[in-house]
Symmetry: C5
């Protein structure tokens, strides 16, 4: 039961069991480390320039030849990473470096940007909030930028790039006019924009957690804070390396990304900096919440102790007095006195009042 609750708190992408490649495998040994999410590998081809846009679902990579040979820009979005042979065909067709191939398949990859002689290679972690369930969906996404085309790979057919497609179809002038580097920018920007949404959701969670702590601090809160911190660790781990890579990209000369388009990559960089900033702040807040929770627990215990102490301190002496006159000695002169019983009551009332005054002074009541 506890187990189930935990599963809710820590989504599956936080599991540590990265089934990494076996030690010593040759670099370039291809092994898909994710789970199969689609039946077939799907390939969507978009061929466009300022004037026209044509879309095709192709099943063999050779079908893309006429488009790639034409001077227009070509974007091929490949969905599904489980059919290595099929992918191998595509890669060989584009002459991708073995290390690129390995990284596309290895879905626990650290986000990075690498420039090879003919390609620029981007690995990113797509994070999106599913509209229906509000759940977080994590997926590895790779983008290969060539001289005249963009190849993108994703694990399933979730429509990540819908907004870019929309602009492409609506003939957004800059997107149509600029080269494939601008398309690559647009794709990455879409992904980073999704990060913003995730940030917002985490922000809301923090607000709620703070409210919860302020109103009633039940025992599940440390767990929730712990889960939040793990989420933030995971999130930071997905964003931080991308920022670093982008920074290198901005500072270095590249023959695939034009100088004039670098300003857009700089904009993405700024967004990433802002997101990382936010993550650090959220982590600070999470620590602050834990402190607040801990001091509330202390305060509560203090209050419990006070109640016990007040009750015990008032009644224990009274019970002692009653005990005295419950003794059965034959020679206890007080027992025979007529006003003794009311006198004892009086004594008790005075003692109680003294205690109350003392506690008032101590600020306990």
């Amino acid at each position: 039961m506890k187990k189930i609750k935990k599963r809710l708190l820590l989504p599956s992408f936080l599991r540590h069991n990265q089934s990494s490649k076996k030690p010593g495998q040759a670099p370039g040994t291809l092994l898909f480390t994710g789970e199969k999410r689609l039946d077939n590998v799907l390939m969507h081809l978009y061929d466009y320039d300022v004037e026209h846009l044509s879309e095709h679902d192709i099943s063999e990579i050779d079908d893309s030849k006429p488009y790639l040979d034409s001077p227009s820009k070509t974007w091929i979005n490949v969905c599904g990473l489980h059919d290595i042979e099929k992918l191998k065909e595509i890669w060989d067709y584009f002459n991708l470096h073995p290390l690129i191939q390995e990284d596309i398949l290895h879905t626990q990859q650290r986000p990075k940007i690498e420039e090879y002689s003919e390609h620029m290679f981007f690995v990113l972690r797509m994070m999106s909030i599913l509209d229906e369930t509000g759940e977080l969906k994590v997926e590895q996404v790779s983008i290969v930028l060539s001289q005249n085309s963009v190849l993108s790979f994703q694990e399933d057919d979730y429509p990540i790039y819908e907004p870019v497609l929309h602009r492409l179809r609506n003939a957004a002038p800059r997107l149509r006019k600029q080269g494939p580097d601008y398309l690559a920018y647009a794709l990455i920007d879409t992904i980073v924009d999704h990060y913003m949404k995730v940030m917002e959701k985490i922000g809301n969670e923090i607000e709620e957690l703070e409210d919860e702590i302020l109103q009633k601090s039940d025992e599940s809160i440390p767990e929730k804070i712990h889960a939040l911190r793990r989420k933030l660790i995971f999130f930071r781990r997905s964003v931080w390396p991308l920022r670093d890579s982008l920074n290198s990209l901005l500072r270095e000369e590249s023959h695939l990304v034009h100088e004039e388009n670098k300003i857009f990559f700089r904009d993405v960089y700024d967004h990433l900096v802002q997101i990382i900033d936010g993550i650090e702040n959220y982590r600070d807040m999470a620590m602050g919440m834990l402190d607040m929770y801990m001091s509330q627990v202390s305060n509560k215990m203090n209050e419990v102790m006070k109640v016990l102490t007040i009750i015990a301190t008032i009644f224990i002496p009274l019970t002692f007095i009653a005990g005295i006159y419950g003794m059965n000695f034959e020679y206890m002169p007080e027992l025979g006195w007529k006003w003794a019983y009311p006198a004892v009551w009086g004594l008790m009332i005075v003692a109680t009042m003294g205690m109350v005054v003392y506690f008032r002074k101590k600020d306990w009541l």
Copy 2:
């Protein structure tokens, strides 16, 4: 009720709900993310040189043409960011880069300074203490520096730049003589001076919180410290990126900011460094206060425990003795002895005194 209290502690600008742009929107898609604070977009134009100053409230940006064409310096302060069409006219008139346009509208922007081919663009977060209520007012402010003019944008018509205006009207020599880069400096300096005031206010809050902790440590203190830490996080987040941007500005060549005026920007930089320094110190102090509070709570609990322990430890054995002689056995020789009752009293007094001595030795009394 708790809820209301919290709202007082955490002002609205600390809410996380940054309504960011929708993922995948084209850069340059204009969408105002703040709240409408004015009915109309107001434009105040100031045209000045050493000799003269003329002020105009204009309603169409075309009205500024004669002033901009003249060799005198021109400053246009635009209040209100909700009427995008109006703003679009202004921007197109000044030929602003789409990314500048987007950043002006996106009011959760990270402060930064960016140089474009024709413009230098500053985004800052204005923070001021309202004189009447002592409340903190937060507003995004953008400044666009051109060859011969300064454009400034703010969300409402709060008189941020009053002191600069005052000096302009009083013909402050340096301000009137120097180019628009000096005016930009003066505007930024005014904003940074407001940060100093905010620092002072937070400093006072810390003083008060420390007094409160020393005098009586009620349970709301962790909450207050948490709110203080969030404020400091927000504040640092507003100042830190500006410092970095300014640092880059100082080290790089710029055709819009003259070498001789850089010393003034360096002065602003120094103030920002001092402010960030102060924020870090305040954060350390906030941590220190929490430690102090926590140790006070511990001390209090310790004291409560001691009272309970002293009372219980003295009376529980006495009650036991009384209980003994309250037993109803037929053959209890003591019960018949004449001096038994005073002897029991004596025993009790001795036991109590022994306890008191023990507690004295333990330093509990």
Copy 3:
């Protein structure tokens, strides 16, 4: 008994007793600081090029002469470091710098990469999970890269490089074709891949520890977290310096590592960065778990206190009432009243109910 338990938690490689060399010994004074794990020094020689591969177990280093003189690449794997005279022969044969010799023997060496005039020297710490017992095995491994050969040293004959051998025997084209620098890369990559396995194991341990904390938090948990933190410290200490050295290697010109093979070393570097990243995250999580554990202990104590307080607060006053009417005064009118006894019961029930209502309001029940 406790002692034994600890030994299980903290494996021997975490012991601090680094029997370092005696102060003031000349650099180059050869002294083996590990434990003898083999009877004899074993030397395995592999001579290969694209066409052929020949394997030999040699007993004298002179036997390797014909292979070293041939243009094919030669790899000699030396197992066992206790027989210094034998090793000395090998080193002198290869003309190794005295500091290299010292570092090979000093098995508590900090991992590093150093370039000498004729050799490139790598010291690494091999960490592997033994398949049978799941135990962690730690061993120092040195690799000396020369113009045409690779010398590797390990403490015993554990088959670290099995996967590389496998590829060599299966004529993996790149491995056979490339120079000894690629072989060195392959050896190091194999070792780093083992780190990934270790990471995975630690990840599992963290998962289990988290489950344990959530389900029942017994008193051994802080100990376990402490042991985990020590492991992470040790692990980081083994990986961090290697990353730094590799970074230097990548940035500097080297006549032993070819530019075209640097991309592979960069891949290893990326893996190390990812591992260090993961270690930092695990350390954060360990801290988070401790916080969670501590707040659970606090919560439990709170609960214990509540039970005590509720019981004591209800029964102490009742016992007092009973004590009152157990007094033996002659003149206690209530004692003679017929309905007094049930009235006292009523009073007691009412008092109890009042208490219960009070505790409900306080949210203690």
Copy 4:
């Protein structure tokens, strides 16, 4: 009463109420932010070279003309910053940049070193222990180094530079021979030497606090540690920026500080590094003391709880037994037995001894 105590702990210089300049004031608007400490502005003029030294108290800055015009070196020490008009005369006479003027008056200035075209400007925070009271005295000190003269400003006439004067009067060869840059060094070195004294005093305070914690940990200790931490924050804030400025000075070419004298500034720099080092260590120690205090409080509470538990656990069962035989049932056969009373005593003694054995085993006694 508490208030007074606090004032003793937190000296006035730690107050946050920095009455900074009003937002938007022109740079160069002169406003003294400290408190008036002297009636008049005092000016001490020292004119010296290898051969001679002449000292004069001048009242008008024009009186210094003959000395400044002579080739000998001139040092003017100005005491008192409240009379802005007088100061303005001096500044204008020396043609100081408006930003220098503003910084001299703004007594909450961050320490810094700035080079202007004709001057090098140093702002430092003088901290000294008053011999009589052992109190800490804080004062802002500015030094303006020109080609042939040194101008120094301080808030009152406290003899900060006494040791330098002493050496000047005793014709210390290097001081007399070297240029004004060496004098500036000597002045700064004197101030930094005072920091050493302050360090020593804080060190003694830490020793005392540690002793106090070890001997008896009364409740004022967290407060004292907090005050100590605030002092260290303030101290670091005074020293750190100076170190940074000095570092820049050492690395850059300057026409006012000669290369051959830089070694002396490097010596000052080393002292500052040592001081900052010490401050960091003191901060670590302060944290350590708090940890030690907190664990002592925990230990004490533990001990209190143990005493309570032992007493309650022994006597509560005994009282119960006594209660049993205090019941008034008519048919309680034990009451009539002759040996029942001693038997009950026996039972009680056995129970007590059992408890004692149990507590011994638990290591509570």
Copy 5:
């Protein structure tokens, strides 16, 4: 008594009372800040080259003239720093810069390496474990490297350099052949090797402390951890600056240290990095131990509370029942019933059993 114990924990070198020079003293004012440890200043002279070695104890520095003038290398080891006049003679003979002279005497110097025109100056802190007592001995050591000689200064005649001497006497080839820079390296290496020994000892202390915490956590542990942390702070402070200085030395050109010998200094540098690494790890472990101790204290208190709660919760209700039937009302029908007494016993047994079941369920028993 507590005081004495503390003195044992915190050795005298951790005292803060650095009797620094008086503020404002001229640089070069010579004042010995340590304690006199020897009666006379001792000077040991070693003159050597590949062929010969001659050793002399000289009493006047002039006696060293013939050796210094000869082409062979000369090492003079000076023991004792209290006789400033004698030292002054030596320094003047070697023409040492006044700042060097001051630093040799000021025994609380921060370790550093400084290059002057004719000399390279090393200040180090010697730390060694005395074989007899296991105590830590701290001493400042200075080394002055000249073109053809090495001057070393130490506070007493403790044989720090024994191992170097041993190698010198045994005609270790490299030491005899290389120049004085190699000798300086050998001396420093000896000192750094002693640090390793100290590390080992601290490591053992940590092991012991961990064992102690695991077995029985008595109240002196926080104190011991605090002392350990102070030791580590002191140790780091002695090593860290040396590492930095050495790093600068390695990167800069020097006419006193030959390029070919730099590899040996790099080796020392590596050792220092390893030591600092270890210190950081020890500090982490110390923090971990404190956390572990604190959670054990919490656990213990929890256990104490549980025992109290169980006893009180079982017996308080029973005592109440006994109290009820101890009341003396005339009309209490139960008192006359024959089976009432056993029935009460039954009730009590049932209540107790219910409690036990409840505690079992709560996992308290």
